[in-house]
Amino acid sequence: MGNKQTIFTAEQLDAYQDNPFRQRIAEAFSEDGEGNMTLEDFLDMFSVLSEMAPRDLKAYYAFKIYDFNNDDFICKADLEKTVNKLTRSELTEDEVRMVCEKVIDECDLDNDGRLSLEDFQHMIVRAPDFLSTFHIRI
């Protein structure tokens, strides 16, 4: 919602095709959870991803995006999916497993082997560049 531009050029739309989580973003913001967005969902998405959106709101939606199976927890399977998407599956299985274990080890405060929203927020608010990376400029 930042500036005044209301028309997307084809290139701009193309340009956002590289995000590994594009499908997830659409799903997280759409009301039906399948990626079909109404205009309002769409506006919502951009408002959350705008620079001005508060940190906690961003964290909440980031959680939704990374929660692939929509069970309100980021479990190991979600983490593995995330890693593979981020690295284009270039890490070996062992490495992926190790990374996921480390993440759970670092963030999971209640030892249930998965990350709740609370765990996630606890981690993400301390991240130095979360705010600077989790937004889109139009």
Binding site: L109, D110, N111
Partner: protein
């Protein structure tokens, strides 16, 4: 808009509104009260809008307060939210409803329903969120807004009376009291604030739009009435300007980043090859900057003045090619050796004239030459040390001990701003690389090993490498000795091998030793980052031998030249004397004109300074050639062969033997460092050398980054470079010091050539300074100089410096100690916190047993019935944990005790699975002492 007209319309509207209200909601006490409260301000037509408006107000009220609270008591918020969630679902209503007494429950319900209907389309989570919002607001309201409420209640009562007594309150409108006016203004301000802050509210778009419309309407309507319409434009202007400013700042940042040279290239390399390879390129870039400045000094203060104001080429012997060399002076092979025209050009020491002042500016070129020559060292020293200090401030040897290294990498490393396929590719690569780097670090941490074996192997490896170094050192010494003997013999009866023995041995050592060291280093099994440092140090020691032989040969040559020069000097003097004698004898006069000889024919000395300069330049050039050829053959050709012959070869070339090359960090870094050492040493004798080096660095930046990207593969274990390049810098400093020595030695002791260079005619080079002090500066400065060089003054100064050094060293050690302590404490605190949150059931059986021993065990409720918190227990637990803590023996036990005594986790999976919490912003962050479920967590943090 003129306020008057506005007023009129308002009144009209209100009238209408009142009528409608009266018709539709006449029975509703609720509505009436509300209406009266806003009697002047809210010409509502529909009840729905009333509720909405009120909601607005409340939100505005909350906005700043909420933000304030967020910082201090966010966790508490969430706890309260949790606790009151259920209730709040029912109480989901506006402020008005909350202010009302309990008897009006039914009204609330109806309004609630209305609202639900209105916003029925929302997602469930959203609704929950809102609920929580409201719940929180409600709490705040209750606690903080007591006095306000009171006031408003009063108002409300007034309004009630009014509305009930007179349905059409035109008279009231006229008689707006001051207070009401103020309130109105406040409301308008609040609305305005809402309009501006609406964007960063965590609401759904629909709600935002509705609220925005409401607020805009409100402001539109009443701003005129309050005579504040003017301010709006200004405000809009201000907002616009802030936006512009932000944009400008962003653009400026981008511009600054774009100004850093090769940033993109380096990022490219870093994303594919890891930070360790990138660190070499960063070092190269830094070196380029340094050399550019050195070149600026040299060019601006020495070369340019001589070229502009000095005598032109061909005017004096030192600026002319001698007659016997002239036929071949322009040949390429000669120029390539830097003799011929090159030798007698401004590139070398010999070209510069010894005239004290030149040109209209009276530029003291010899003085400038000496000062620049020394100043280059001074400046480099300063820059290197400053960079080292700054780097060490940034700190860290790369192994960052962040709490959430992997999590942050996973969840925040993707930059959602990326909108370019190429950048995206790089980002993918860089994320993969950084994961790999962290994995290597992590593996290193987890490695549990036989420490004794490891130690033994390390000692063994060091011993072997010491043997290697000692052996090669002796070999160099032996060869140099032998070559000196050969030099005394006639060159005819020496074989080719015997002539080039030194070079041969040196390059053989350089070829064999580094891989040997690398192989031996495998024994040590260090982390690759540390292994790189060791490797660098060892090869550095090896190359020192190289340097030593080079300097040795050079000094020999210089001494020989000095001998020759002496004889030539005598010869010319003798010739000159003869000429004078003949001339006076012939013409019988003592007024002898100087001999008229063409400058090309004058007998001249060998000019050892230029010779040294040429040696250095040749060395740099040949070094450059070798480096580039190595890259071309060793990397490019190999890559081509591996890539294309692989189709028709017996084994897999890519995976098997030749494979692709890896980027040799240690070799390249050391090459750069030693190269720079040559530059420092040679710059005094060949001012053009710095310019040459700038070109070399420039080309090698492009060439090497291309070679890396196209023909190398990443290291097998990509490791994170230390964030500070201080090890490289340390090597550079050492080389700087080493190269400072010979130059200063020559300046202080060697006699300059008698017929070339800016110091010709002087006994020693530094006499230029003395001369200037004596002749051009006022006398007292000379005195000061004499005093300052008095040993009696220098000794105490040195002593003072040593003491200061000692003191500062002690201080820095103290800081480091404190730093480490704090780090450990943080780690401890973190572990403790984590343990406290952990459920006690799974891990620490010991704790359960310990707990059984406690006398008041019965008071501690089992985790199952957690919801009703007996406050007494809270206290007891809170007081207990610090008491027991000091008694615990080991650290581990201590921590675990904390777990069981002070922190039964209220959200343990045993008691109940933490349900999906549609957490809104401002949700819990960490458990805090609070009411309800937060109990028992109030242990000392």
């Amino acid at each position: 808009m003129p306020p008057k007209r506005k007023n009129n319309t308002v009144i009209n509207l209100e009238d209408v509104g009142m009528e409608v209200d009266a018709v539709s909601d006449s029975g509703s006490e609720d509505e009436a009260r509300k209406r009266s409260k806003n009697r002047r301000t809210k010409p509502q037509r529909r009840a729905k809008r009333v509720s909405d408006d009120e909601e607005d107000e409340e939100d505005e009220d909350e906005a700043p307060r909420k933000r304030g609270r967020k910082k201090k008591a966010k966790p508490r918020d969430s706890d309260e939210d949790d606790e009151e969630d259920d209730r709040n679902v029912k109480r989901k209503g506006s402020k008005a409803s909350r202010k009302r007494a309990a008897k009006e429950e039914s009204d609330e319900e109806s309004e609630d329903d209305r609202e639900k209907k209105k916003k029925g389309g929302r997602a469930a989570s959203k609704k929950e969120k809102e609920d929580q919002n409201k719940g929180r607001k409600g709490n705040v309201k209750k606690k903080e807004g007591k006095d306000k409420d009171g006031e408003k209640d009063k108002k409300k009562k007034n309004g009630k009376l009014n509305s009930s007594s007179s349905s059409s309150s035109d008279s009231d409108d006229e008689s707006l009291s001051e207070g009401e006016m103020e309130a109105l203004k406040e409301q308008v301000e609040e609305k305005k604030k809402l309009i501006t802050t609406l964007r960063n509210k965590p609401w759904r778009m629909k709600r935002r739009l509705v609220l925005l419309k409401e607020a805009q309407e409100f402001v539109e309507r009443f701003e005129g009435a309050l005579g504040k319409g003017k301010g709006r434009k200004l405000y809009a202007y201000k907002v616009m300007m802030t936006k512009k400013l932000i944009k400008f700042k962003r653009d400026f940042e981008n511009f600054k980043t774009a100004c850093i040279p090769w940033e993109r290239k380096i990022k490219d390399v870093e994303s594919h090859f890891g930070s360790s390879v990138a660190s070499y390129f960063i070092f190269l870039r830094w070196m380029y900057g340094l050399n550019l400045i050195l070149f600026g000094l040299m060019f601006g203060l020495v070369m340019l003045p001589e070229l502009l104001m000095g005598l032109p080429y061909g005017s004096i012997p030192r600026k002319t090619v001698p007659r016997e060399e002239q036929p071949t002076a322009m040949d390429f092979s000669v120029l390539f050796e830097f003799s011929g025209y090159c030798q007698y050009s401004f590139l070398f020491y010999g070209f510069y004239n010894s005239e004290r002042m030149i040109g209209v500016l009276q530029f003291r070129l010899p003085l400038s030459y000496l000062l620049v020559g020394v100043g280059i060292f001074g400046y480099s020293l300063m820059v290197v040390i400053r960079t080292m200090a700054r780097n060490s401030n940034e700190g860290g040897d790369g192994a960052e001990e962040g709490e959430f290294t992997f999590s942050w990498k996973m969840f925040t490393s993707w930059d959602y701003l990326i909108g370019n396929p190429e950048t995206a590719d790089n980002k993918f690569a860089s994320i993969t690389t950084s994961f790999k780097e962290s994995i290597v670090d992590e593996q290193e941490n987890q490695k549990d090993e036989n420490i004794h074996l490891r130690r033994f192997l390390r000692v063994l490896a060091n011993l072997m490498i010491l043997c290697c170094l000692g052996g090669s050192g002796y070999l160099i010494y032996f060869v140099v000795k032998r070559s000196q003997e050969f030099a005394n013999m006639k060159t005819d009866n020496l074989s080719w091998f015997e002539k080039n023995e030194v070079e041969f041995v040196m390059s053989l050592l350089g070829l064999v030793c580094p891989p040997l060291f690398e192989t031996i280093a495998e024994l040590e099994d260090y982390h690759p980052r540390i292994a790189l440092k060791w490797q660098l140090g060892r090869i550095f020691a090896l190359f020192l031998g190289n340097l030593y032989t080079f300097l040795f040969a050079l000094f020999d040559e210089v001494n020989a030249k000095l001998e020759r020069e002496k004889s030539i000097k005598n010869e010319t003097e003798w010739l000159l004397n003869q000429y004078y004698a003949n001339y006076s004898l012939h013409f019988n006069t003592s007024d002898v004109p100087p001999p008229t000889v063409d400058p090309a024919d004058v007998i001249r000395g060998p000019c050892w300074e230029t010779g040294v300069g040429i040696e250095f330049v040749k060395l740099i050039v040949s070094d450059m050639q070798v480096t580039y050829l190595t890259i071309l053959i060793g990397d490019f050709l190999r890559a081509v062969i591996v890539r294309f012959l692989n189709y028709c070869w017996c084994w897999d070339l890519e995976a098997g033997f030749p494979s692709y090359g890896e980027f040799d960090i240690s070799g390249n870094v050391l090459g750069l460092v030693f190269n720079q050492g040559m530059i420092w040493m040679g710059a005094f004798y060949a001012p053009g050398l710095v310019g040459l080096n700038v070109l070399r660095l420039l080309s090698s930046m492009y060439y090497q980054s291309w070679a890396v990207m196209s023909c190398n593969v990443p290291h097998e274990r990509v490791f994170k470079a230390s964030r500070s390049n201080n090890f490289y810098m340390g090597l550079l400093l050492l080389v700087l010091f080493l190269s400072l020595l010979p130059v200063v030695y020559t300046i202080m002791t060697m006699p300059p050539s008698f017929d070339c260079g800016p110091f010709s005619g002087q006994e020693k080079m530094y006499e230029v300074v003395m001369e200037t002090i004596e002749q051009d500066l006022p006398a007292f400065i000379g005195n000061i100089f004499t005093y300052a060089t008095n040993p009696g003054l220098i000794m105490p100064a040195v002593l003072l410096m040593v003491l200061a050094l000692y003191y500062l060293n002690a201080v820095s050690k103290g800081y480091q100690q404190a730093n480490n302590d704090l780090k450990r404490k943080m780690q401890l605190a973190r572990d403790e916190e984590k343990n406290r949150r952990n459920n006690k059931d799974s891990t620490n059986q010991v704790m359960m047993d310990l707990e059984d021993l406690l006398p008041n065990k019965s008071l501690i409720p089992p985790p199952v019935k957690e919801e009703p918190p007996p406050p007494a227990v809270v206290n007891e637990k809170g007081s207990k944990s610090p008491k027991t803590k000091p008694g615990a023996a080991g650290k581990g036990v201590n921590l675990q005790k904390d777990v069981s005594l002070a922190a039964p986790n209220p959200r343990g999976p045993v008691t109940r699975a933490p349900g999906p919490r549609g957490g809104p912003p401002g949700n819990a962050r960490g458990p805090q002492p609070g009411r309800g479920r937060g109990r028992g967590r109030g242990g000392p943090r």
